[in-house]
Subunit: 223 residues, 2 copies
DNA sequence: AAATATTTTTAGGCTTGCCTAAAAATGGTT
DNA sequence: AACCATTTTTAGGCAAGCCTAAAAATATTT
C-alpha cells in the first residue's frame, strides 16, 4: 500500500506487464533487464523492493508477476502512453515513428484528471497510432480479431490494423512503401524459397514484402 | 557544457531565474531554498555542482546568477511551463488554479520539437492563463505597460492583465468575485483607514477589494 | 547423476539529491 | 574594533537507482 511510485519503479511495472502479457508467464530478471535497459543485478534489487510494497509477486529465481494493484498502475501507464501518442500524432502532427520517446516521458506525469480530460479531448480513441489498443478508464482493452499478415492464405484479404514491431526503422520503411494502418491488402502470392509475400495494396499497386515484414503486420481478415 | 539536466537541476535554475528577475540581484541560498523547498545545505551543495558545469555564476556567500546557457535553459523552462498551462486551460478546460502542478511536471519533458509544435497548435500565445508573458522560441518576453491595480488613482480605469500572486486561494477568490483576466475596472474610491479599493467591474457592479488584493492584480491603464 | 552452462542473487561501491548539526563567514551594532 | 545575529558552508549520513564482480541457484548436457 504505497502511494508514490518513482518513474523508475513505474517503468519496471510496465516492463513486467508487457513481458507477462506476451510470454504468458512470470517475467524473468533478464527479460526485465533487457526491457528497462539495466543490469540483472539492478533488476534483482528493484524486484525485491517492488515485492516488499506489494506491487509484484516475486519468489527468488522464479520471476515476477504483477499484483492486482500493480496491474492497475501498469494498465494506467499503458493508457497514458498510448493516449499521449494519439495526441502527438493527431493533434501535433508528429509521425508514428517519432512519438515513443516523448510519450515515454509524458506517461509519468501524475494527474488522473489530466488523463481523463485528454481522453475526452481526443474523442476516447480505442487504438493508438500503431494500432495498439488503449485501455479505457476501467482498464479494459478493446478486442479485435487480428492476425499476423503472414497468417493469411493466398487469395485472402485484410485490413492492416497494427504493427508488432515498433522500431523507427520498420515504421519508416512502412511509410516509404505506403503501407499504414487502415490499408487494404490482398495476398496474391507466397514465394516459397524465402516466404516473401506479394500483396496488392488498396486494390492498386503490387508490392513484395519479406516474410519478416509480414509477421510484424497485424491484419483483420475480410470475408 | 553539459547536456542533460535532471528535473532537480532544472528546478534550481528556474528558481534562480525567478529570484534574480524579481529581486534584480544575485539569488541568495536561503531564497532558493525557500523556492525549491529544500534545506540551505542542499542548496549550497547544488550551487556548487551547477557552477562547476557553468550553469550559474557562484562565489561562496555571494549568491548565484545564471550564465548565458543557464539563462537559456531557464527561459525555455518558463516557456514550456506557460505553454502547457495554456494547453491545460484552453484545450482541456482546467481552471487557472488547477494547472500549476501539472505544468510543473510537463515542463520537464524533453523535446524541443514538442514545445514548438505545442506553441504552434495553441496559436503562439503571448501570455499564459495568469497573464504571465510566454517567452518566444528565441527567449524574448512580450512587454506590456502594466502596474499593480493599487497604483491607479481614483477616477482612472484599467484592464486586468495578470496576477502577481498565484495561490489557489487567491485565484479561487477572484473567480468567486468574477474578477478575471480581461476584466475592466474603474477605480471609484480608496478607503483611507485600510487602503481597500472600491471598483466598478466591467461597468456593471461595484466591488470592494482589500489593498492586498489590489497589490496583487496587474492592470493596464486605459487613457 | 555429475559436470557444465546459464540465470539470478548477493556484496560492495558509486552518484544524485536530500537531510541535520556544527562550523565558518558575513553584516550590523554599539 | 568587538560582539551578536544571521546566513552560508562544511561534515557526515541516508535512500534510490544504478553499476561490476563474485557467489549461489537452477537448468541443461552428457
Amino acid at each position: 500500500m504505497e502511494y508514490h511510485l518513482s518513474p523508475a519503479e513505474e517503468n519496471y511495472l510496465k516492463a513486467i506487464f508487457h513481458i507477462c502479457f506476451q510470454e504468458e508467464k512470470a517475467a524473468t530478471t533478464n527479460a526485465i533487464a533487457a526491457m528497462v535497459g539495466a543490469s540483472a543485478a539492478s533488476v534483482s534489487d528493484m524486484l525485491k523492493r517492488l515485492a516488499a510494497n506489494d506491487w509484484i509477486h516475486h519468489k527468488s529465481h522464479r520471476g515476477a508477476t504483477l499484483t492486482e494493484q500493480g496491474k492497475k498502475v501498469a494498465t494506467l501507464l499503458v493508457r497514458k502512453h498510448r493516449l499521449w501518442e494519439v495526441f502527438l500524432v493527431q493533434v501535433l502532427h508528429f509521425s508514428w515513428d517519432e512519438v515513443h520517446y516523448m510519450a515515454e516521458q509524458l506517461e509519468h506525469v501524475q494527474s488522473d484528471e489530466l488523463v481523463e480530460r485528454l481522453d475526452d479531448f481526443l474523442g476516447r480513441p480505442k487504438f493508438d497510432p500503431h494500432g495498439d489498443p488503449i485501455p479505457n478508464a476501467r482498464g479494459k482493452f478493446a478486442q479485435r480479431n487480428q492476425m499476423p499478415l503472414s497468417a493469411l492464405k493466398v487469395g485472402e484479404s485484410g485490413i492492416i490494423v497494427g504493427v508488432m514491431e515498433q522500431s523507427t526503422a520498420f515504421l519508416r520503411y512502412l511509410d516509404k512503401i505506403g503501407l499504414g494502418i487502415g490499408a487494404q491488402v490482398d495476398l496474391k502470392e507466397i514465394f516459397e524459397f524465402d516466404g516473401s509475400l506479394q500483396v496488392e495494396l488498396n486494390g492498386k499497386n503490387l508490392l513484395t514484402i519479406s516474410s519478416k515484414v509480414g509477421e510484424n503486420l497485424l491484419a483483420q481478415k475480410i470475408k
